[in-house]
């Protein structure tokens, strides 16, 4: 086995709390399928037979009830993290350290993409990288998608990524917030890597390939809490710093500089270079960058690479806006994103005279009365749409009832919601089991059970 897959599904959906109050984020439906199905499907298509899924404890029952594993036909090892802890991604990885035997592929549960994983894996394999990450150009339509129930724009936190364009070597990866006015770049790094492209329009897809020894490193450094925020920037930075004792594995020192634990258990034992490594590097006739007297890769042992997606689609449904937008897009992009998979839930159009276009998806057991207009909407299972209902750009989850003559535009209706007769809702979110009174006219509103909201 080359890689082990870890799906990070323990996110709380802090940027879409309106939706996640009643439903764990990883199970929020996208195109009538739980969101987590997409990364799992991606893994499945790339030959993974099993995966470790990290979910919060409180969502465990729901996740196992959702029977995801049978939907994707994979063996899932569902690991719960205690709800009392507020763990970051790195802590979660540390928690499952005993299960990790080989290099890991870490993927977020909200990633929906048609990316072919082997491209990233090739970069990783070619350079024997320590870490490889997928970067995707941010699609503006998704970023600027109007988020229902929100006034004003959600402020996007950008990442600043410096990357050597012809090799894909990462120079720095930081959040915008890490810098003040300037982005500093050390001179000696620039001497070695004279062509560095700095991007601010790239999105970290939260898809990482990480070598086993880096996981070990993570395990030993308990002050690292998140992968993205802490591990990644520090490892990328440490690529360029060599040990002072020339000839020795430089990670030894890098490690020692981070934590002063006893040097016997350093990363030197983690990162195996092989018996004949020295001979190999001596024999290799690979030409280095011109003008430098350094060894291959400038003697760097730790190497981090980024792969920038050139075309294709890469979306993270981690904000309200992008969640709504992905749902709108999904009928069109289904085939490319899922590799022509059969839809796990048959999306049949009701035989009634209602008008539903190709741009909509309607779940099983949904009753659609006459004269219903559905455009660009996703409708879940067992919903009741009464006569003359008009839906435009809506996401409707399971067991939702919309009474006669209601008009909904750009709304998200969580499961078991009820919308009364003749209502007109625009850009609204109706929470789980919430009722909207008859004839109400709302726009940009969030209807939630207040207590529950506070409780979370």
């Amino acid at each position: 086995m080359e890689f082990q897959a870890v799906v990070m599904a323990a996110g709380r959906g802090s940027r879409m709390t309106e939706l996640t109050t009643g439903c764990p984020k990883c199970l929020l439906p996208v195109g009538n399928v739980p969101m987590i199905w997409y990364p799992l499907n991606l893994l499945k298509r790339n030959g993974f037979q099993e995966a470790i899924v990290i979910v919060p404890e409180m969502a465990k029952n729901e996740v196992s009830e959702a029977r995801i594993d049978t939907k994707v036909d994979m063996k899932l090892d569902i690991v719960t993290i205690p709800s009392s802890e507020d763990w970051g991604t790195a802590e979660s990885i540390r928690y499952i350290k005993d299960k990790i035997k080989v290099d890991v592929l870490i993927i977020s549960c909200d990633l929906i993409t048609d990316f072919e994983l082997h491209q990233l894996a090739d970069v990783y394999r070619t350079h024997s990288a320590s870490l490889a990450m997928l970067l995707a150009p941010v699609s503006l339509s998704l970023v600027n998608a109007p988020a229902p129930g929100q006034k004003g724009k959600h402020k996007r936190v950008r990442d600043i990524v410096g990357i050597e364009s012809h090799t894909g070597r990462l120079m720095f990866v930081n959040s915008e917030a890490d810098f003040e006015e300037n982005v500093p770049l050390r001179k000696f790094i620039l001497t070695r890597h004279p062509v560095v492209q700095v991007h601010s329009d790239l999105m970290d897809a939260h898809l990482y390939l990480m070598s086993k020894w880096l996981v070990d490193y993570l395990v030993e450094n308990e002050n690292i809490t998140t992968i993205k925020g802490e591990l990644l920037p520090s490892v990328v930075k440490k690529q360029f710093y060599h040990s002072k004792t020339e000839g020795k594995n430089d990670i030894t020192n890098m490690k020692a500089s981070v934590t002063s634990v006893d040097p016997k258990k350093d990363i030197h034992s983690h990162k195996k270079t092989g018996e004949w490594y020295d001979l190999l590097s001596e024999l290799s006739t690979r030409s280095n960058q011109w003008g430098s007297l350094d060894d291959c890769y400038h003697g760097d042992q730790v190497r981090c690479y980024g792969y920038i997606m050139k075309d294709g689609l890469c979306v993270r449904a981690n904000t309200l806006g992008s969640y709504a937008e992905v749902n709108r897009l999904i009928p069109k992009i289904w085939d490319s994103v899922t590799g022509n998979s059969e839809r796990p839930i048959s999306a049949s159009l009701s035989r009634s005279k209602s008008q539903g276009g190709d741009d909509s998806m309607i779940g099983e057991g949904t009753n659609i009365a006459d004269k219903v207009t559905i455009k660009k909407s996703i409708i879940g299972n067992h919903c009741q749409l009464k006569e003359k209902v008009k839906l435009l750009n809506c996401v409707i989850m399971d067991h939702v009832t919309v009474e006669e003559g209601s008009t909904l535009q750009s709304c998200i209706l969580c499961s078991n919601a009820f919308v009364g007769k003749g209502s007109e809702l625009k850009d609204c979110i109706v929470g789980q089991q919430q009722r909207v009174m008859d004839l109400s006219k709302l726009s940009n509103d969030v209807i939630l059970e207040i207590e529950k909201f506070i409780e979370i």
């Binding site: 086995m1 080359e2 890689f3 082990q4 897959a5 790339n46 030959g47 993974f48 037979q49 099993e50 080989v102 290099d103 592929l105 072919e116 994983l117 082997h118 894996a121 090739d122 394999r125 070619t126 350079h127 024997s128 092989g274 018996e275 004949w276 001979l279 190999l280 001596e282 024999l283 290799s284 006739t285 690979r286 030409s287 280095n288 011109w290 430098s292 007297l293």
Partner: protein
């Protein structure tokens, strides 16, 4: 002084050889050698002389300008492409009916065929002179499929422990050598003749006669049938491609490149299919007919195929490794991760140089063996060998496997197959890992040291050593000589597109050695001040030809002109039983894009070179330096003349048989 001495050596070696040749009489006696493209079944002792007579006869016939006497019942296919120097000489039993002679009157076809040179060679028939004769007894046949066959025969013989003893081996080697000599000249003449014809197809077309026979000899027919099929397929593919090209012309280039890959695959498939069909219909052969393939797939575009440089179209073309890993699973793949990584690293040039590639392969294999668990109901020796073969196939797709790698794997598999079946897995794995370690240590690491020692003796104070691109053994030798305190200067010659010499220069400069750096076009000028040329080698062939990075033979030639001795550093494990006489027959094609992408100053000039119909790019990897340009070879077992390769190989094989 060196030169004189060496010359003496060479002379004496040659003399010895001549003596041996005179003695040589007995050809290999072995009924078990029935390879796909050759048979050596000979029980009489006359065969060797027969064979050489055959050669001379063939040569004579060839010189008759293709006007063949039908009475001779000889077949020469003049419309074969220049890349195949196949010459068939058949002498059949007098009982057999005379074969009808068919003359190709269709001018168009001939010119088309030769203009396109469209015969795609099956790899095994890649090269060779086919001599096919049956003597007095009907069963006695010698089919020497050129030098390849001799080589294979040698290997086979070596492998065959019980039947063939060491004496026979010696004789066969010598015979092979003598045959090589005779055949070589005939090849050259054939080569010339065929070349002329194909360069001037129209003039030659009328003259050309193709004598076809309803041959009783199955083998001959098969190859002919295959050729026919392949020709057909290629023609079809080309036709379709032309149609497709017209349709495709306004589409984007990106789509095109995908389409070309598809097309290439398709063409190969078609050729194979056609070949199969023909071999099925063999009984009704003689009737010139192949089912026409009708594929109107508009996506088929033969662009890539069309972009093959004519002389080198029989070689595996360079392809990007994008598709290689596409269908590999990221988990649970049949291939071991270390092999996938290695394949990519080799194809991307992260691991470069034949020694480095070999070491990387062996370390990967070691990892594999350590992870290996014998599946139930299987034997380790068989299963592991099959696995390794599978891995090598993958590596071969990534980049043609180096001679060094092939030899190392051969060594290892020999050890695996000999593994007694009664030892348990962990023991066997331990032994194999040990074996790998010893191989790396003895054949590569220590060999390298021995070479630098031997080479160091040849470097004097105030020498000016010229070296070409980057060779790990030369690099080591120069560094070690410098460490010994010798005072010399190095001229590093480099060549586009890879500019490997920079790596050499980097190491030498880092060491503190005084260096000059020139490109290969400045060599004639710089050669005046050079006292020695030291080259690395990819492999040393059984006929003494040095296979090395392209450009080496040019350097050697210039060195000869300036009377500078050429020393070649090569580990003995890189010696090969292959016999090639030019760099066309066997070579490796590198990425043609390398030639255009780094063109200064305007990168865009040739970006779309694939679309320029009159432009072909050829990026060769290796060339062959003839042994007479090489003063001596510095190996781990001493300084040798090029011609002693067979001896070294024989000793090595004998040694490995004993173990």
């Amino acid at each position: 002084m060196d030169k004189l001495k060496l010359g003496g050596n060479q002379g004496s070696a040659n003399k010895k050889k001549r003596n041996r040749r005179a003695k040589s009489s007995n050809f290999i006696e072995n009924d078990h050698m029935k390879g796909p493209n050759f048979k050596v079944v000979d029980k009489t002792s006359e065969s060797s002389t027969q064979a050489s007579n055959m050669c001379s006869r063939v040569q004579n016939e060839q010189s008759k300008d293709n006007k063949l006497a039908p009475a001779e019942e000889s077949t020469i296919n003049p419309n074969l492409s220049e890349s195949q120097y196949t010459l068939k000489h058949k002498k059949r039993k007098s009982k057999k009916k005379k074969s009808p002679i068919r003359t190709v009157t269709d001018k168009e076809e001939v010119s088309m065929l030769s203009a396109d040179g469209d015969i795609q060679l099956s790899k095994k028939n890649g090269f060779g002179i086919n001599l096919d004769s049956s003597g007095q007894a009907s069963e006695e046949k010698i089919v020497v499929s050129g030098l390849e066959a001799i080589k294979t025969a040698k290997t086979k013989v070596y492998d065959h422990q019980t039947l063939v003893k060491a004496e026979n081996l010696l004789k066969s080697t010598e015979l092979a050598d003598s045959l090589t000599g005779t055949l070589k000249s005939s090849i050259m003449s054939t080569h010339e003749a065929l070349k002329e014809e194909s360069w001037a197809p129209c003039t030659g077309a009328g003259k050309q006669q193709r004598l076809d026979s309803r041959a009783s000899n199955e083998e001959g027919q098969k190859t002919k049938a295959q050729l026919k099929a392949e020709r057909k397929a290629a023609f079809e593919a080309k036709r379709v491609a032309e149609v497709a090209d017209k349709r495709m012309s306004d589409k984007q280039t990106q789509q095109k490149s995908k389409a070309t890959l598809r097309a290439e695959r398709r063409a190969v498939q078609e050729a194979q299919r056609a070949a199969k069909e023909v071999s099925k219909n063999e009984k009704s052969a003689g009737v010139k007919k192949v089912h026409k393939k009708t594929s109107d797939d508009p996506r088929v575009s033969q662009q890539e195929v069309r972009k093959k440089v004519r002389l080198f179209r029989h070689l595996p073309q360079y392809h990007h490794n994008y598709l290689l890993t596409r269908n590999l699973r990221l988990a649970g793949s049949d291939l071991h991760p270390s092999i996938i990584g290695l394949g990519l690293q080799i194809s991307q040039g992260v691991v470069r140089g034949s020694n480095a590639r070999c070491v990387a392969l062996l370390t990967a294999l070691k990892e594999i063996i350590q992870d290996y668990i014998t599946p139930p109901h299987k034997e380790l020796s068989r299963d592991l060998e099959a696995k390794i073969r599978n891995y090598m196939n993958f590596l071969n797709q990534c980049r043609p496997v180096a001679v060094s790698m092939a030899n190392a794997v051969k060594h290892l598999t020999r050890f695996i197959t000999k593994m007694p079946s009664n030892i348990n897995d962990s023991e066997a794995k331990l032994r194999l890992c040990e074996q790998i370690d010893t191989f790396i240590k003895e054949e590569i690491k220590l060999a390298k040291q021995a070479i630098s020692q031997n080479a160091g003796e040849n470097i004097r104070n105030h020498d000016v050593v010229l070296t070409y691109t980057c060779s790990s053994s030369v690099k080591g030798a120069l560094c070690d000589a410098y460490d010994e305190g010798k005072n010399f200067r190095v001229v590093v010659v480099d060549a586009r597109p890879r500019l490997d010499g920079r790596e050499m220069l980097r190491c030498l400069v880092k060491k503190g050695i005084q260096c000059s750096y020139v490109l290969i076009n400045a060599v004639p000028y710089i050669m005046q001040e050079v006292t020695k040329v030291m080259l690395g080698a990819h492999s040393l062939q059984a006929n003494g030809y040095v296979m090395s990075r392209v450009g080496c033979s040019q350097i050697a030639l210039i060195a000869r002109a300036y009377n500078v001795p050429v020393l070649v550093c090569c580990e003995t494990y890189k010696f090969s039983e292959h016999v090639h006489t030019d760099s066309i027959v066997y070579n490796e094609l590198a990425d043609p894009n390398e030639l255009v992408t780094e063109l200064p100053p305007n990168k865009q000039t040739l970006e779309n070179w694939q679309d320029i119909p009159s432009l072909y790019l050829l990026n060769l990897e290796y060339d062959l330096t003839p042994p007479d340009l090489v003063a001596m070879v510095i190996t781990d077992i001493g300084n040798l003349p090029c011609t002693s390769v067979p001896v070294v190989l024989r000793v090595k094989h004998a040694g490995s048989q004993e173990v």
